[in-house]
């Protein structure tokens, strides 16, 4: 073949600054969530005279924030198109080990708390390693098995006993205030900031999104998919242990059957927050708002003493509402 003409390149420049679009900005999913939150607060205020005051709003957070810590790593996991249904069992196992370490082995409480965190992280690590080593099995299968296993171990350790009588200061986690702000709220905000930065401002977070959209392409692009997954699952275990500490502190004791079905609540909150289980989508701020929506809704309806079966229906309907609204094309909310 005889070379004839070489097509000259058409020189072009590309935009590198994203133009600010008010329309796009205000059509974000998180705004809708924020409106729902305002709606929930307004509804609660109109229903109960006890709802809208600082101490009520403040103390409510102590009620619902314990499991919210797991929502963050769960969001990361769901963005990676995985799921972890063993977190509830991890909460139980890590708290049981902590209590046994303190009560039966004579470990000082401070060290027992550290042990709790380590056990949680180890549970998560094991999930992560199994998922990475056995890629042909999905995370659902593996965490379903470890869910039964972890709780089983908790039962073996503590049998039918409750273990408690923690030192006085341990109660501070679940019940304490710092300058009038619940300690749990402070830690929650801190965790939200940390996870928000991790997800949105670091290379690690960018990798998580990349894996969620296309794990093969991520691997070919030099993203260490396995390591990222293991770390995120370990984080989930670690945060489950944090929840375990708060829960044990609030109850002053622990038992193998605590935190039953927490995983479903956590997944529901993450989904409401705009994290799609189809992977790659969602922002952390959405999950934070979702935590408060669900929490305040339950708390507020509790203040007018709605039966818990009604609450079940309300939460289920809210979850459906949240996933159906974006499918309506009329206001195009970007999830």
């Amino acid at each position: 073949m005889e070379p004839k003409t070489i097509q000259p390149y058409t020189q072009r420049t590309l935009e590198a600054d994203r133009p600010f679009s008010a329309k796009q900005f205000f059509l974000q999913w998180e705004w809708l969530l924020a409106f729902i939150l305002i709606g929930v607060i307004a509804l609660n205020t109109s229903l109960s005279p006890y709802f809208l005051n600082i101490s009520s709003l403040r103390d409510a957070t102590m009620v619902f924030l314990d499991k919210a810590f797991i929502v963050f790593p769960m969001a990361l996991i769901m963005i990676m198109r995985d799921i972890d249904i063993s977190v509830g069992s991890t909460v139980a196992l890590s708290s049981v080990v902590m209590a046994v370490a303190y009560n039966s082995l004579g470990v000082p409480m401070g060290a027992a708390v550290v042990i709790c965190l380590i056990v949680g992280a180890l549970c998560g690590l094991m999930n992560g390693l199994l998922i990475v080593k056995f890629k042909e099995l999905s995370a659902v299968i593996i965490t379903l098995a470890t869910m039964i296993l972890y709780r089983g171990i908790a039962y073996i350790i503590l049998e039918d006993q409750a273990s408690g009588s923690f030192p006085e200061w341990f109660g501070f986690f679940g019940w304490g205030y710092v300058y009038g702000i619940p300690f749990i709220l402070i830690l929650f905000i801190l965790a939200a900031l940390l996870f928000g930065l991790l997800l949105h401002k670091t290379t690690f977070g960018r990798h998580i999104y990349a894996i969620g959209h296309n794990d093969v392409a991520s691997r070919f692009s030099g993203v260490n998919v396995d390591r990222t997954k293991v770390i995120v699952f370990t984080l989930a275990g670690l945060m489950a242990a944090v929840t375990a500490i708060f829960l044990a502190s609030r109850m002053g004791s622990t038992r193998p059957n605590i935190a039953n079905m927490y995983e479903l609540d956590v997944i529901a909150m993450a989904a409401l927050g705009g994290i799609s289980t189809a992977g790659g989508k969602g922002r952390l701020i959405g999950t934070v708002i979702a935590v408060f929506i669900v929490g305040y809704l339950q708390y507020g309806l509790g203040l007018i003493n709605i039966p818990s079966q009604t609450l079940l229906i309300v939460v289920g309907a809210l979850l459906l509402f949240a996933v159906i609204v974006p499918k309506l094309n009329i206001p195009r909310f970007k999830k």
């Binding site: 003409t5 390149y9 058409t10 990349a210 392409a217 070919f220």
Partner: protein, 504 residues
């Protein structure tokens, strides 16, 4: 009775925002192989979907045997004797060969509607035999090779007693020999009176098979010709709309010191005894039939999979690559074959795609610095001449050629020494092809050592400095520039490999 079995008049199909077909025409005679050509995005795929009833046209009429007809779903088209063989994703990997063949037109008991498995197995076996294949009809589809799957697709079309078979790039994933089998099958079908619409990017397919050719461009009908009355150049003009030939830029790239040496690389069941070296500024063509193990060698070099024996040396140092990240850190980059699945994150903008492999570079201890990132992404995108409005345009919205450019740009972020390009122009239209060749030459000039895997003979010959030919997991021949010829490559790709042993 009309002269044509199938005739489409003034077909228009609009999707939100785009007109995919604009008043196009098409006529198909009985017992004719009719090539349909056009660049990517010309509307060929939509056209097929209109014929097979997946899409309903917004305007226009379809005549079958001279009678107007309207299909509302693929089943109706099938019943009318129209079958389509798609390029990919049309089979069911978990189901048996027989089921794949009969899906949608299963044989059922006339009264109870029970599936008649025995009849289906028997017929499947018969059809496969007719196609010269001995595949077990009970085998799971997912365990077959691409070429075998292609044969199953054809068997499927035959089983529907189709009078009109549409083949969408059937040879794209096939080797020359496998393509030859396919031609044979197509010709025998034609001789039995079946009409075939044949879509392909390869000119050789068209000249070899078709008697007529129709060209679409930018959703418009350009024209139809008898194959022997139109020249290659005329056809290209018709397709591209401007004069262009497939050209290989001949820039002089100085060849420097050795940068990569591979010794006796082997992986059980895939390849063995792979040895070669690569110099800076050199383009090493790696060719052979599909399935010869080329991609597997490259993936092992890049750390996607592990090799069992042998060693790799980069710049004199022995490498221990466990994952792609290591390879990139050390200086080996890889442009994967399937850019949609392996190369790019289609839901992301151009910029983010480009910076993904080297995020650490413009992050500060793990913290992203988005301004720097955007600037660098823009520079690189411009360097490879991506046609887009901004770096925030989604990768999925780009044409094949531009997607490939973005994928190449990804390799430029890391400080690489060796770049492996796996089928860099696959599924890319002619206009973009030459641009990609230009980029490859530029890279060689900058001193990268380049391994280019390709099945297209002219491309390998035109671009490479040396050519390694693989056959069944081994390098059978290393051709120097002066030895380049299609015959030599074919011979090396098909001949018995020397010193063949049983591995493992």
């Amino acid at each position: 009775m009309s002269e044509y079995v199938l005739e489409l008049k003034g077909i228009t199909k609009r999707f939100p925002g785009v007109t995919a077909l604009n008043r196009v025409h098409f006529k198909l005679r009985k017992g004719e192989i009719h090539a349909l050509m056009g660049e990517n995005g010309a509307g060929k795929s939509t056209f097929i979907k209109v014929i097979t009833g997946v899409h309903a046209p917004d305007e226009g009429e379809i005549f079958l045997d001279g009678k107007p007809i309207a299909f509302s779903n693929p089943t109706e088209a099938q019943a009318a004797g129209i079958a389509a063989i798609y390029q990919h994703v049309t089979n069911y990997p978990d189901l048996s060969v027989t089921e794949n063949i009969f899906m949608g037109h299963e044989k059922v008991h006339p009264k109870t509607k029970r599936l008649l498995w025995k009849d289906m197995y028997r017929e499947a076996k018969a059809i496969l035999k007719q196609l010269g294949s001995s595949i077990d009809p009970k085998r799971e589809m997912g365990t077959l090779s691409v070429a075998q799957q292609q044969i199953i697709e054809i068997a499927k079309a035959i089983s529907t007693n189709a009078r009109i078979i549409i083949m969408d790039e059937p040879t794209a994933a096939l080797t020359a020999r496998e393509s030859e089998d396919l031609y044979r099958i197509a010709e025998s079908l034609r001789d039995q009176g079946t009409s075939i619409i044949f879509i392909s990017h390869r000119f050789e397919d068209m000249y070899r098979l078709a008697s007529r050719v129709t060209v679409f461009r930018d959703a418009n009908y350009i024209g139809s010709w008898d194959v022997d009355e139109i020249t290659n150049d005329q056809l290209i003009v018709a397709m591209v709309g401007r004069e262009i030939t497939q050209v290989f830029p001949h820039k002089k790239h100085p060849i420097g010191e050795e940068v990569l040496r591979v010794e006796n690389l082997g992986k059980i069941g895939y390849f063995a005894d792979i040895s070669f070296s690569l110099r800076r500024g050199e383009i090493l063509g790696l060719t052979g039939l599909v399935g010869a193990g080329r991609t597997e060698v490259c993936e092992a070099l890049f750390g996607i999979t592990k090799y069992d024996t042998g060693s790799v040396h980069l710049k004199g140092q022995r490498l221990a690559v466990r994952r792609p990240k290591d390879a990139m850190k050390l200086g080996i980059g890889y442009l994967p074959e399937d850019r949609q699945k392996q190369g790019l994150i289609l839901q992301w903008g151009i910029g983010r795609n480009i910076t993904l492999p080297a995020l650490e570079r413009f992050s500060n201890k793990g913290w992203l610095t988005e301004k720097n990132e955007a600037q660098l992404a823009r520079q690189l995108a411009e360097k490879v001449h991506v046609k887009a409005k901004s770096i925030f345009d989604l990768a999925g919205s780009l044409s094949g050629g531009n997607q490939q450019k973005v994928a190449v740009a990804k390799l430029l972020t890391a400080g690489l020494d060796v770049i492996i390009l796996d089928e860099p122009t696959k599924g890319v239209d002619i206009g973009a092809k030459s641009a990609i060749y230009e980029i490859i030459q530029d890279l060689a000039m900058q001193g990268y050592g380049i391994i280019m895997v390709s099945s297209e003979m002219p491309e390998v010959i035109g671009m490479s400095d040396r050519i390694a030919v693989m056959r069944e997991g081994r390098i059978t021949r290393m051709l120097q520039k002066e030895e380049f010829s299609q015959e030599a490559i074919l011979e090396a790709a098909m001949s018995e490999a020397p010193g063949k042993t049983k591995a493992g």
